[in-house]
């Protein structure tokens, strides 16, 4: 039988306190891999954000793309053209520009999708874990239903609904929203379950009990007290999910429900290049593929480091 301490229960430091407290900079500077990853992520994000100014051509403007330039190898290869450093794709788009623009599309899809998923998931997870009872059952049952529909199915569903509502809707206009919503709706469960699990444990802890005794309203307790203590794992899920979202987008375009080839994302470029894998036009799949892999790798490494750095017990 343990004896409850008589002193007021101590609340673990909040997330931001932990970040400030954790000598994050020192830990960052200690890890060379992390630094490299951070630089890569930074470069890719800047490249994506400023692609219209950095890229030599605008691959999304069909009037400036010439079919006669199609399938030109990278500049250093035989038959290469210095105008196209990394070569061109099957429509004659400059691959370097297309990658920059595609990166932007992919990151927009990924970030918005993951943000949507996290918002839904965290909210529902907190509610379920904290309130328990019927709310919990209801939310978790919705999660069960949700899990039945993988992102691919959800994309098809939303695609179909969009078509049903806006008759003759063009994929070019709707694809982005369809993807963001599909990703948001298919990834939220993980956040919800994680948050719910930690909240279940957390809500019985002394500091929450104390806050409740003081008479703080439930939403406030959830946001101010519980959330900061359960959010840690979410950051890790976020990083993995950002990568996953980009890959999901690529897969969906492989199955024909992704972004249209007229406005290719990184994933669309990969599935275009995939067609030319056997034919010797290796650059169309390789450069976007490598860009994607590097992006995902760097983001994941950052996530790893972040988790360790945020976890005071691991320092």
């Amino acid at each position: 039988m343990s004896v409850q301490p008589a002193s007021s229960p101590k609340q673990p430091p909040s997330l931001w306190a932990r970040i400030l407290d954790s000598d994050i900079l020192a830990s960052f500077l200690r890890s060379k891999v992390t630094m490299v990853a951070a630089v890569i992520v930074l470069v890719l994000f800047i490249g994506a954000a400023f692609s219209p100014w950095i890229a030599p051509t605008n691959p999304f403007d069909p009037a400036t793309v010439f079919l006669a330039d199609a399938n030109i190898p990278p500049a250093w290869q035989d038959g290469g053209d210095p105008k196209f450093i990394l070569g061109t794709d099957d429509q004659g788009r400059d691959l370097y520009s297309a990658i920059l623009y595609g990166l932007r599309v992919s990151l927009i899809v990924g970030l918005l999708g993951v943000a949507l998923a996290a918002t839904i998931g965290i909210t529902l997870g907190l509610l379920a874990g904290y309130l328990g009872g019927r709310v919990d059952s209801l939310i978790m049952r919705i999660a069960d239903v949700q899990l039945t529909f993988p992102a691919i199915l959800i994309a098809l569903l939303i695609d179909g609904v969009v078509r049903g509502i806006f008759k003759g809707a063009n994929r070019e206009d709707t694809a982005l929203y369809v993807l963001v919503i599909s990703i948001g709706l298919s990834f939220w469960v993980q956040y919800a379950r994680t948050i719910r699990g930690s909240t279940l444990v957390e809500r019985n802890k002394d500091y929450v009990q104390a806050a409740r005794l003081v008479g703080l309203p439930a939403p406030l307790i959830m946001l101010r007290h519980v959330l900061p203590n359960v959010i840690g794992p979410v950051l890790v899920i976020l990083t993995i999910n950002l990568a996953l979202a980009v890959i999901t987008e690529a897969t969906l375009s492989f199955l024909g429900v992704g972004l249209p080839p007229t406005q290719p994302s990184l994933g669309t470029l990969i599935s275009i290049g995939n067609r030319y894998l056997f034919s010797g036009d290796w650059w169309i799949v390789t450069f976007p593929g490598v860009t994607l892999a590097i992006l995902v790798l760097a983001v994941n490494l950052l996530g790893d480091w972040l988790r360790d750095a945020l976890n005071p017990r691991l320092r």
């Binding site: 239903v145 993988p150 179909g160 993995i240 990568a243 492989f254 056997f278 994941n300």
Partner: protein, 326 residues
């Protein structure tokens, strides 16, 4: 406990109904099955008649009610494409998918857990870092690309493993077919299982590592150390055992992900399973197959969730108390 089980069973039933409703309404939007079934030059009256035969001209509610009634009797109708009962088509394809899912889950657990344990225990070793990086590369590429690269390397270039299909299968009983009893069956399983399991493997590895690190810092382990238990006993007897609780959850949940990703793997490897059948059904707007597939997957999921929840209740006494208080 019994009340808990009963309540969960009831909830599961509700979930199934909800899924049926969603599946049904969703696919009313995707496309018109009649267009898939008639040729370009089919007369209009024939099209109208088709609609009537299929009951597609009735109110959606009636169509749904009929669907539920039939589904309860395991009658999912006849596939528009194959003109065969959907349940027999799915039954015929199920062994392929289940075998593939099982093998890839096995692969991801057998490789993922040791790798996770190793990377947790030897955090700073070179090998651990290599494991982590290599596994990350594995999830940094889309599944379809990994599959195609594996085919390119092991089938086309080296000629070691087959690029498609299940190889030679042996019939067991009335409807189960297995590739596990023939050499070519095993060979055919290797590439698809790795392709499908790679992602799960990485996830499990990362999860085991993270959980191990957490557990190793707990007072409980510190206490065990203080008691002078051998490191090996602590690591594997105490730490790993505690780590496995969340792994049960995730592994259970991952099964859904495996089956979802099987759609892609089966497409790339022309694996004659349910995923391929489903994808074709989506392309051809074969509503009976799509709906039955979703019902089947939901059933699988709901059952797994039920089991995971019950296991959770058994494994974690804290939660057992909470559940009891509901």
């Amino acid at each position: 406990m019994l009340a808990f089980v009963l309540r969960r069973l009831f909830q599961s039933l509700m979930v199934m109904l909800a899924v049926a409703l969603i599946a049904f309404t969703m696919f009313r939007f995707v496309g018109d099955p009649v267009n898939q079934m008639v040729g370009v030059d089919t007369p209009q009256e024939q099209v109208a008649q088709l609609r009537q035969t299929l009951g597609l001209d009735e109110p959606v509610v009636v169509q749904f009610a009929r669907y539920i009634y039939n589904a309860a009797r395991l009658e999912f109708g006849v596939s528009y494409q194959f003109r065969l009962p959907v349940i027999s088509l799915l039954g015929e394809r199920a062994p392929a998918t289940l075998e593939l899912a099982f093998m890839s889950a096995l692969f991801s657990l057998l490789v993922g857990i040791p790798m996770g344990v190793y990377t947790a225990l030897r955090r700073d070793s070179w090998l651990a870092k290599i494991f982590q990086t290599v596994s990350l590369v594995g999830i940094s590429l889309p599944t379809f690309l990994i599959g195609i690269l594996l085919i390119y390397l092991f089938s086309v270039t080296l000629g070691w493993l087959p690029s498609f299909g299940r190889g030679e299968v042996v019939k067991i009983g009335n409807w189960w077919t297995t590739g596990l009893l023939t050499g070519s069956g095993w060979k055919a399983l290797i590439l698809p299982s790795i392709t499908l399991g790679l992602f799960q493997m990485t996830l499990i590895m990362r999860l085991v590592r993270a959980e191990m690190l957490e557990v190793l810092r707990t007072d409980y382990i510190k206490f065990a150390r203080a008691r002078g238990l051998r490191t090996r006993a602590i690591h594997f007897g105490h730490a790993l055992k505690n780590t496995l609780v969340p792994v049960i959850t995730i592994a259970g949940l991952q099964l859904g992900s495996i089956i979802a990703f099987a759609i892609i793997t089966e497409t790339v490897f022309q694996w004659p399973g349910m995923g391929l059948l489903f994808l074709k059904a989506v392309q051809q707007v074969d509503i009976p197959i799509m709906a039955a597939y979703l019902m089947l997957i939901s059933f699988l999921f709901v059952s797994i969730n039920l089991i995971v929840d019950l296991l959770y209740a058994l494994v974690d006494p804290r939660l057992r108390a909470t559940i009891g208080a509901h």
